[in-house]
């Protein structure tokens, strides 16, 4: 026990000064005590922040260079959206898809939606060929639906965390079929197949696990 004769307090520590008045402490015995609170260990710096900075820098410079070349040599098409979109998607894939700790169904649903959005933009702003609506939109949704369903079947204990993302993608699968009615989608088979699969999965959940879907909706939408 050390003693501060200025504050008149006792303190159990190895430190030579008083925490209240910073005065030197007097002590009789030299026995060391175990400090009540651990020392502060500052977080160790890794290579990662530097890598990130370097990659950020190259990303931004390459985007600027691509845009500049495209604008100088403009011939009616914004072809630079293709590489720029790929670079941005790569960022999301690494930071969100690989490095983040979100659950896998969320990652899949989010990255699929993002990919669809980017590809639609690329299609619109580059050569307007319509491949994004006709093929990619329905087929990506279809594969995402399949993937999440398989994950739920395989990792069944986490189904509570995954089911909302499956439902989201199921609802999104209605989009291509709606676009067919508006005449934006001209090639019908991918949209119809995606829709059919989505409805089948939905019916499967409704028939076999009605409670889980009801609970999930109640939970997410309680007001």
């Amino acid at each position: 026990m050390r003693y501060c004769d200025k504050c008149k307090i006792e303190i159990k520590t190895n430190k030579p000064y008083c925490p209240l008045c910073q005065q030197n402490l007097s002590f009789e015995e030299t026995k060391t005590v175990i400090e009540k609170y651990p020392e502060y260990v500052p977080p160790t710096r890794t290579l990662y922040p530097l890598t990130k900075k370097a990659m950020m820098f190259f990303t931004f410079t390459s985007i600027i260079i691509l845009l500049v070349i495209n604008i100088i040599d403009y011939q009616g098409q914004l072809w630079s959206v293709i590489p720029i979109g790929s670079i941005l998607f790569f960022w999301f894939l690494v930071s969100f898809g690989i490095l983040s700790k979100h659950n896998i169904a969320y990652k899949l649903a989010f990255l699929t939606s993002l990919l669809i959005g980017l590809l639609v933009l690329i299609d619109e702003y580059s050569f307007q060929e319509g491949w994004s609506y006709n093929y990619l939109l329905p087929l990506l949704l279809l594969s995402c639906n399949l993937a999440i369903s398989v994950i739920i079947l395989v990792k069944r204990i986490y189904y509570r965390d995954y089911i909302i993302y499956l439902l989201t993608i199921l609802v999104l699968s209605l989009v291509p079929i709606i676009l067919v009615f508006f005449g934006i989608v001209t090639i019908k088979w991918p949209a119809v197949v995606a829709f059919a699969l989505a409805v089948s999965i939905l019916l499967f959940i409704i028939f076999f696990f009605p409670k889980s879907i009801k609970d999930e909706l109640k939970k997410r939408f309680h007001a």
Binding site: K12, Y37, P38, Y40, K101, Y158, R160, S212, K219, F221
Partner: protein, 432 residues
């Protein structure tokens, strides 16, 4: 209904819990801690087993925070809970990334077990219940002959629905919910600590002595400490500097009130409200005696049943508001944030939490040496005080986010000048 081990359980956040997820960050963590010192070193494997056992009895704590369309909610957490070694941070941010989404932490160091909890999950009384159950379970697993004596909940009891209720909503009165506008409070200034570190200084005095001291002035211990705190703030921060504009704001001490003592409820969740001692300290000579009278009067006024129900209803009213209720969560988040920034944080100079005297069954007492309570301190409340007592150890713990320790020094010198023996503990944050 038995909610034990059911994977489809989820809980609404209680009324006070709803605000904290939106306004918490690495500086304002809204985390508080109760630590318990045992008579022998803690075995971490047995502690882990004890925590696992307790979590199956208290499914309310085995949750993670999820977002819904209108409100966030607690969802059953199927990931394992891991205890950790105590780090230097006191009441640091509860980051879901590092803790499998759990909203509380169990830490160990030598003979200490510390439990930190995010305020959304429970209040001090809820945490005390948890820590009692945990220590009982731990001692039992180490082979000690301990009995619960009905003071400590054990894992063999069945959880009752009453433990989960939102008691605030139960006492809501739509006719008594008037909002009383408040002025911004004086803020204790100082040099901020870097890296979100928190300084901790606790002082231990004799419980009986301090109770007698408060009784001499015809006050409760909480009232006495509040008056003392105001007098110390006045002496160290404001006196002779009354002309500075920021010193003309009222000094307000926020004192949480455990409503379980005023209204019948056994809930483990948030069921507390507050009283405030408030004074604009611009007079030349404010004595401790004046402050004692002021605090007693203000506390008596603030603790009437009618006033407590008003404060409760005022809070519940916002979640009953139909417009806010059906605003999607991602927008509501900002509304709550702005509201809290304007109304909540800046209205207090500091908080003084008295958790009170903690009793353990006689068979457990030989194994328990000491208890410590601490609350976070942040950008606005740069200094907070938490008080807990066990047997004859009355422990007052200051946590601060500034380097200066003038207030603590003055506070403890008050006791030493009255002839008290004060034992001090510090985490020596100023070294880093």
């Amino acid at each position: 209904m038995n909610k034990e081990n059911r994977y489809d359980t989820w809980y609404r956040l209680d009324n006070s819990g709803k605000i904290f997820p939106e306004v918490s960050n690495h500086r304002e963590t809204n985390v508080f801690r109760v630590a318990i010192t045992l008579s022998e070193p803690v075995d971490k494997d047995i502690l882990q087993l004890a925590v696992d056992g307790i979590l199956s009895r208290y499914p309310m704590f085995k949750v993670k925070l999820k977002k819904g369309l209108f409100w966030s909610y607690f969802d059953h957490n199927s990931k394992p809970f891991f205890i950790e070694e105590m780090s230097h941070y006191i009441c640091g941010e509860m980051n879901a990334k590092y803790n499998n989404g759990y909203l509380f932490k169990v830490m160990y160091r030598n003979s200490d077990i510390a439990v930190e909890m995010f305020h959304s999950l429970a209040d001090g009384a809820g945490l005390i219940m948890l820590i009692k159950a945990l220590v009982y379970e731990y001692l039992k697993l180490t082979g000690k002959e301990v009995k619960s004596d009905n003071i400590v909940p054990t894992k063999h009891q069945k959880p009752s629905m009453e433990e989960y209720e939102d008691a605030n909503a139960k006492y809501y009165n739509s006719k008594n919910r008037k909002h009383v506008p408040e002025e911004r409070a004086y803020r204790i200034k100082g040099t901020p600590l870097s890296d979100d570190l928190t300084g901790l200084i606790s002082g231990i005095v004799s419980t009986n002595k301090i109770i007698n001291l408060a009784r001499e002035s015809n006050l409760t211990v909480t009232e006495y400490l509040t008056a003392l705190m105001m007098s110390v703030i006045y002496k160290t921060q404001i006196q002779y500097r009354e002309h500075i504009p920021s010193n003309q704001k009222p000094v307000k001490i926020f004192v949480p009130v455990n409503l379980r003592k005023h209204f019948p409820s056994n809930t483990l969740r948030n069921f507390s409200n507050f009283v405030k001692a408030s004074m604009i300290m611009i007079e030349d000579d404010i004595t401790f005696e004046n402050l004692k009278i002021l605090v007693k009067e203000q506390f008596e006024k603030g603790m009437t049943k009618k006033e407590l129900i008003r404060k409760m209803s005022e809070n519940v009213a916002f979640e009953k508001n139909a417009f806010l209720r059906f605003t999607p969560y991602f927008l509501k988040k900002y509304a709550l944030k702005i509201g809290y920034n304007m109304l909540g944080m800046k209205l207090n100079t500091m908080s003084l939490t008295n958790i009170g005297k903690i009793d353990f069954p006689e068979s457990m007492q030989p194994y328990i040496v000491d208890l410590t309570a601490a609350v976070y301190s942040g950008k606005y409340n740069t200094l907070n005080l938490a008080v807990i007592s066990y047997q004859d150890r009355f422990k007052m713990t200051f946590t601060r986010s500034i380097i200066e320790t003038t207030i603590e020094k003055e506070f403890f010198r008050h006791f030493t000048s009255l002839g008290f023996d004060v034992e001090v503990e510090s985490n020596y944050v100023e070294e880093y």
